[in-house]
């Protein structure tokens, strides 16, 4: 571990985060947007773990937060997919720009 510092991890996670944001902004399909959100969450996990490992190794707070983030991600995906599927059943389409029946 001598040659890898915390910066390495943070840069990887930053790149992942902004890739995720780019995906979230440009993809039209709801499922792909969900996938981008997963990327965002995952980059946060890397940050938590790296900070825990390098800066605060006395305790495991970072790991537990990462675990809770994973839990939340699972919850989010389950509910989001339930919504997407029932949406698809109603309007046969999951395009984020065209699903605007409830507008105004």
């Amino acid at each position: 571990m001598e040659n890898i510092s915390i910066q390495h991890f943070l840069i990887v996670s930053t790149l992942m985060l902004f890739t995720g944001i780019y995906g979230f902004l440009t993809r039209k399909n709801l499922i792909t947007m969900l996938m981008s959100a997963e990327l965002i969450l995952n980059s946060v996990n890397i940050n938590f773990v790296a900070v825990n490992k390098f800066l605060y190794p006395e305790n495991l707070q970072g790991q537990f937060f990462a675990m809770f983030v994973i839990g939340i991600a699972a919850v989010e995906v389950a509910v989001a997919i339930a919504i997407i599927i029932s949406l698809y059943r109603k309007v046969r389409m999951i395009d984020v720009e065209k699903v605007n029946e409830m507008k105004y």
């Binding site: 992942m16 890739t19 440009t26 996938m35 996990n45 029932s86 395009d95």
Partner: protein
Amino acid sequence: MEQIVFYILASMIVVFSVLTVTTRKILRGAVYLLTVLLATAGLFFLLNFNFLAAVQLTVYAGGIVVLIIFSIMLTSHVNEKLESTGNKKKFFSFIAVLAGALICISTILDYSFKEKSGIEIDTSMNKIGKDLLSYGDGGFVLPFEVISILLLAAMIGAIVLAKRETQN
């Protein structure tokens, strides 16, 4: 040795992240996402967070990606391509994201982190189990219980949402 592994994993993460958000075949996107998640688990293994890595594998690779693939199977067809986004939107998003990434990376490189090198981090199952169920300093029993309730609520919610309405 570890350095090599790290660079392999890091480049995998970056490359496949980009592929995930740019591919026009949706299921391939999911597979690229799976690769990113596996590589992240690899990073965790590298940092000696074995338990977290296994959680990542089980929940993300075994649960979330499978769910996503399921929903893709239900909502689209194999030789269907996603519509591409307008070039204007792509351009502006790219500029914004690039700016953000540059700012963050330059800040990270500027800042001097105070790494603690003396202490070896203890990620044994024993410690994880005890911390997760203790209420004292470094204990996480309350969020642990709260998240279990959240999971239950989400499960019920998902069932109610996705349940087919009865005919009549």
